[in-house]
């Protein structure tokens, strides 16, 4: 009992894996025959939309799946809580635990064991992943109950949880990479869950490939880490930073190269400019998947990775600047797209891209704690927003277009209330979780030594836009007159408890989740920063001093409070504008759009980035490859080969008396040449 529960930390990823195996067996042996029988009856059709389909008597195995799926994640959550409590019981400098499971890849001096690491940073991550993950699993059991491939869904969802936990618990970059690509796979499988729909399988493929572009950078970064540090284990790499910087092995250039390569990976996984294009399309997946993978957990992996590598990033001012700039640019760029989207999930998708931008902005200005803090609060309120939108979609038999909603407040009271709370949180209304985390980022963007007033201004403006598009969403969906199809309106219903209870719990978290990080200036105490301090102090010690995280000390309190008030004011302006446009003067938005048709179309069409990529890369590569194949391979190389063959055959005619048979001819000619060659080599 030296370490007690910590010795069982392996259970955290293992329990979801158990779920994969159990549900997998059910999917294979119980569900597959049923689906096949249906397919054989030529039963075409339903089940392709989001969360609707025929009602049929549920097979008994479905109850089992609906239990196993959430239960394993819930159990992992319990283990996580106990383990984190055990960790918290230790003194701050000793909050670190590594468990080596088995040697994995080892060759020459390279060694990457399969090992798990629990420290304050991974603690936060596993609590978010298993906690929010559990609620979403429970919700899924209700939301997906009409789906035929029910067990398959939970196989993927459990597999995702396993991979995500591997990602955050791994004790070296390679194990992180296992989780990294593992979550990418699950994302691919879940986006393409309705694989009969071309748009869904396209979106899944796009997600995987764009992520692979990021992984390419990640992998090169890992190579450079290994050949610089001689190891890929976090503790060893970070411990060597001071030494190798001192003896000149780890130059700023190398640190810049390593961190920029890693950041390419983060850009892909966390959907930042220029690789964000896959995330909006990922909304093709079932809505709980969007909540879990494409809002609360997987897409934050890039932020986690940058924060984990903070000691390396801090060595390179260039990289820090790039991270902050990309984050801020993405935050405002995708917020503007969010204004014009009419699909409720797409608004949330662009919002997620934008919020991830905030997290990177935080990391880029050295406020890693603030970045992780926002990661956590965002997981609460964005998961809630997605699940709420799922509840709306569920109620409307699959309708996702906000132009066909309205007045849902009275039909869906719980969904409305909880979503409204989340909207207040993301808009940055004081007292709610999003306020504290976003405000800390804004303050650090301004005050940190890596910060800049321009970064603050962009982020504050984006905050206003965020408030605007979120309230636009709420007004269009829940207020005003009904624009629903009559047939749809007849069936509108509040969702079952399995879905509303997770909503309520997440609403509570969206409110109180920020209270563990109330800044000193508001007479609070930032427990969150204190908890993470040991992880990020390491980085600060290795590089440019602790000023990044504590720069606030140099600025007067009045300034901090003033900026805070300013950002709240910007948010209120956004809300006010949304109220004016979507509650008071409801034809105004249309008039504005018609007044600037060019600009509106550009934004509505997401700045045509997909089309530009398609033109610049996709089509060129495909057409170029066809040329390579037909002109180079078939015509040129084979032309030479067949030409030689013809020439040999021609020459062979001369010696036909000696040789018969085609192959023999060639063989003889070649042998003759060989003998001549031997002669040449031996006599020279």
């Amino acid at each position: 009992m030296v370490t007690g529960i910590l010795d069982y930390i392996w259970l955290v990823p293992a329990l979801p894996l158990l779920g994969v195996l159990l549900n997998g067996a059910i999917a294979l042996f119980c569900e597959r025959p049923l689906l096949l029988a249906e397919a054989a009856h030529g039963d075409e059709g339903h089940g392709h939309g989001d969360a609707h389909g025929g009602h049929h008597a549920p097979a008994p195995y479905r109850k089992l799946v609906a239990f196993i799926g959430p239960a394993v994640v819930g159990a992992a959550f319990v283990v996580s809580v106990l383990a984190v409590l055990a960790l918290a019981a230790r003194p701050a400098h000793d909050r670190f635990f590594v468990q080596v499971l088995f040697p994995w890849i080892q060759a020459g001096g390279f060694s990457a064991p399969a090992a798990l690491q629990l420290d304050p940073l991974s603690s936060v991550m596993i609590l978010v992943v298993t906690g929010v993950g559990f609620l979403i699993h429970v919700y899924s059991a209700g939301y997906m109950s009409h789906e035929k491939a029910f067990a398959r869904y939970f196989v993927y969802l459990n597999l995702f949880t396993f991979a995500m936990l591997t990602l955050v618990l791994g004790s070296n970059y390679l194990v992180m990479f296992v989780g990294w690509e593992g979550v990418g796979l699950c994302s691919y499988l879940l986006i393409g869950y309705w694989y009969e729909k071309k748009s869904a399988s396209d979106a899944g493929k796009k997600a995987f490939i764009v992520n692979r572009i990021g992984d390419f950078g990640f992998m090169l970064g890992v190579f450079l880490i290994f050949w610089t540090f001689g190891t890929v284990n976090y503790t060893e790499v970070f411990a060597k930073v001071p030494l190798l910087s001192a003896n000149g092995v780890l130059t700023t250039e190398i640190a810049t190269a390593i961190t920029l390569l890693l950041f390419v990976g983060a850009i892909g996984k966390s959907a930042q400019i220029p690789l964000y294009v896959w995330l909006p399309d990922a909304m093709e997946g079932p809505t709980p998947v969007s909540a879990l993978i494409h809002a609360a957990t997987m897409v934050t992996a890039g932020v986690y990775m940058v924060a984990r590598s903070s000691s390396l990033f801090l060595l390179s001012p260039v990289s820090m600047g790039v991270v902050a700039t990309v984050g801020a640019a993405t935050a405002i760029f995708s917020a503007t797209i969010g204004i014009t989207q009419n699909d409720i999930k797409r608004v949330l998708a662009y919002s997620t891209v934008s919020q991830l931008g905030y997290m990177f902005l935080a990391c880029g200005v050295g406020a890693f704690t603030a970045g992780i803090f926002h990661l956590m609060t965002h997981a609460f309120f964005k998961a809630l927003l997605f699940l709420g939108s799922g509840s709306v979609i569920h109620a409307l038999s699959g309708e996702q277009d906000m132009r066909k909603m309205g007045s849902l407040k009275k039909h869906l009271p719980i969904t409305f209330t909880t979503m409204f709370i989340a909207t207040l949180a993301i808009a940055g209304i004081p007292g709610l979780s999003g306020f504290f985390s976003k405000d800390e980022i804004l303050w650090k963007a301004f005050s940190s030594e890596h910060g800049h007033i321009a970064l603050w201004a962009v982020a504050a403006l984006a905050a206003g836009i965020t408030a605007f598009y979120m309230f636009r969403l709420v007004f269009l969906t829940f207020f005003g007159e009904s624009r629903m199809e009559p047939e749809v309106e007849k069936h509108v219903h509040e969702s079952p408890y399995s879905m509303t209870v997770p909503l309520m719990l997440l609403a509570v978290l969206s409110v109180v989740g920020g209270w563990i990080g109330i800044p000193e200036v508001l007479k609070g105490h930032n427990y969150f920063e204190e908890w993470l301090a040991p992880v990020f102090a390491q980085g600060a010690a290795g590089g440019h001093g602790a000023a990044g995280a504590h720069g606030a000390a140099h600025h007067p309190v009045a300034l901090e409070l003033g900026l805070m008030a300013g950002s709240v004011a910007v948010a209120l302006c956004g809300i006010g504008l949304a109220y004016y446009l979507y509650r008071v003067r409801t034809n105004k938005p249309k008039e504005i759009a018609e007044a600037v048709p060019g600009l509106y179309d550009v934004v509505l069409n997401k700045y045509y980035v997909d089309e530009i990529y398609d033109f610049l890369f996709v089509r060129r590569i495909v057409n170029g490859s066809i040329v390579l194949w037909q002109a180079f391979d078939a015509a040129f190389i084979d032309g030479i080969v067949n030409g030689i063959a013809a020439a040999v055959r021609g020459a062979g005619d001369g010696v036909r008396r000696l040789q018969t048979g085609v192959v023999g001819n060639y063989a003889f000619s070649l042998l003759l040449g060989a003998v001549l060659l031997v002669g040449y080599i031996l006599t020279r």
């Binding site: 096949l36 992984d215 390579l628 085609v662 060659l677």
Partner: protein, 524 residues
């Protein structure tokens, strides 16, 4: 190894080489009217052969670089030619791959090969003799015989049991590889006489050749001859055009063996002969080899992407994967070479599995055109699952075998050839593009072709031969230790040998000598 009696262990490899030949002789006496009996007998022979090979893998001592299970008998004494076989950490898993895949390949022919079953099976068994022999031979002459022995049955397998353009493809295959063989023969003979000139002893013993210090100019020519011979076989860009044709026209089992084992004879040849015998030339020409490897990786992937025929797509993907292997070997460090060897095995498992998967669908629909399919996941879910796992292994997803090999290769190559590696790593992106695109077009979407609506899912026989491949995919992916640790000593020894011999050969030469001066006496 102590638990294997000496009289057994010294004969084990010989038994391993010639047991399939005994099996082939047995087949002569079986009635051709009973193909079922012939098939089962062949399966039994290959299974017994696999069991025979297990003690080699288990008893193999990974801590020593020496040849193990050695058998050495004078054969043609006047010429110093011996029957000399042994196994080390470089050849061990290639032998195991061969014996492991043969029963699988045989099992896949049960319904696919209908005509001349007896001859087909005899050729398959003779092929196995050649393949196992190639990897076990230590004597150059013996090696050459096995090398040629492989060529003949494969030529007939493609030419007789192949599809439409089988004659063209078979001849193309023969021409390319025979051209390579002749070049190699030239180099072997030259090496043989050089050894005599240097030591006064005639020998074809490879281990003695390793001790030679070959003048650098001669190294260049001999390396060129060996490298060209092996490059045809691998095949390296731009000598790859025989491969897609041979694969498309070969019967499934032939494709499996061709991709999984025959191509590895080329990469194995580099590692066993061209690199350690001529280290100065090998290192000097690394930029050329690595460039061709990287072109192969990217070119193979791009061309694979636009193929319409599933089998041709898989064939071009082989060009890409083998490019990785070559890059790893020419990293000249432990990570790169161990990764390269592991990737040879991985490619055998994964690409073998892909050819089987294509074969399964071909047997049902008699077409391999991607556009003929679509939406198959719904009617053949088991097939879809297996196909997906193999696809992921082929794109190198962590947790599968493909990742471990690719990662070690790129890690090793990054040290010695940074920019080549950066370009090679784009292959990781491209493989996802062509594999997932094919998977999508074949398996996802709605069923658009009525002929696909009632396709039967995997049969028990098909599950039986796919299952071992899936096990290997995860075994190597999760616990590669089993495989890597047996390579350690041999690979380290090879790396050291190459480096020390290179240093020794370059000892007296001026610093900063250009390659033109070194090999062609071209002074500035």
């Amino acid at each position: 190894m102590t638990w294997i009696p000496a009289y057994l262990s010294s004969n084990l490899l010989t038994a391993l080489i010639f047991f399939p030949l005994a099996g082939a002789l047995l087949l002569f006496f079986l009635p051709r009217e009973n193909p079922r009996l012939i098939r089962n007998a062949t399966l039994l022979v290959t299974l017994v052969e696999f069991l025979l090979s297990l003690p080699v893998a288990i008893g193999f001592n990974g801590a020593t670089a020496a040849m193990q299970f050695v058998q050495r008998v004078p054969w043609i004494p006047g010429y110093g030619i011996e029957y000399h076989v042994g196994v080390d950490g470089i050849s061990l898993w290639l032998v195991m791959l061969t014996t492991f895949l043969m029963p699988i390949a045989i099992l896949s022919t049960y319904e696919a090969v209908e005509k001349h079953v007896k001859e087909f099976m005899i050729f398959m068994l003779v092929l196995e003799v050649g393949m196992v022999g190639v990897f076990l031979a230590i004597d150059l002459f013996l090696f050459y015989i096995f090398w040629e022995l492989v060529l003949i049955p494969m030529y007939f397998l493609i030419g007789v049991w192949g599809s439409e353009r089988r004659i063209y493809s078979a001849i193309k295959f023969f021409l390319y590889t025979f051209a390579g063989s002749v070049l190699m023969l030239v180099a072997i003979i030259a090496l043989y006489f050089h050894h005599y000139a240097a030591t006064g002893v005639y020998t074809t013993n490879l281990l003695r050749m390793y001790e030679l210090s070959i003048p650098v100019k001669l190294q260049f020519w001999m390396f060129a001859a060996f490298a060209l011979a092996f490059a045809f076989k691998v095949p390296m860009f731009p000598f790859h055009t025989w491969l897609p044709d041979a694969h498309v026209d070969a019967p499934t089992a032939g494709s499996v063996i061709l991709a999984a084992v025959l191509l590895k004879m080329g990469t194995y040849g580099f590692l066993r002969f061209a690199m350690p015998l001529f280290p100065v030339a090998a290192v000097d020409l690394m930029p050329l080899v690595a460039t061709l490897a990287v072109i192969g990786i990217i070119y193979g992937a791009l061309v694979a992407m636009v193929q319409k025929d599933m089998k041709k797509l898989v064939a071009y993907s082989s060009v890409s994967h083998l490019g990785f292997v070559m890059l790893g070997l020419f990293a000249f460090n432990v990570q790169g070479i161990e990764g390269g060897i592991l990737q040879m095995i991985n490619h055998g498992v994964s690409t073998g599995a892909l050819f089987l998967i294509v074969g399964i669908i071909y047997e049902r629909r008699h077409t391999r055109l991607i556009e003929e399919f679509g939406g198959l996941s719904k009617v053949v879910p088991l097939y879809a699952l297996v196909f997906m796992i193999v696809t992921l292994s082929s794109v190198g997803l962590p947790g599968t075998n493909g990742f471990v090999g690719e990662f070690l290769i790129l890690l090793g190559a990054f040290k010695t050839a940074k920019w080549y590696t950066v370009f090679a790593a784009t292959g990781v992106i491209l493989s996802a593009v062509y594999m997932l695109w094919m998977f999508q077009r074949v398996m996802f979407g709605k069923i658009t072709n009525e002929k696909n609506r009632h396709l039967p899912d995997l049969k028990p026989r098909e599950i039986a031969y796919m299952l071992p491949l899936l096990v290997m995919i995860f075994w190597i992916g999760v616990y590669p230790q089993t495989f890597l640790r047996k390579m350690d000593a041999s690979v380290s020894a090879a790396v050291t040998r190459i480096e020390t011999k290179r240093q020794a050969a370059l000892g007296e030469r001026p610093q900063g000598e250009t390659l033109l001066a070194r090999y062609f006496d071209v002074k500035k």
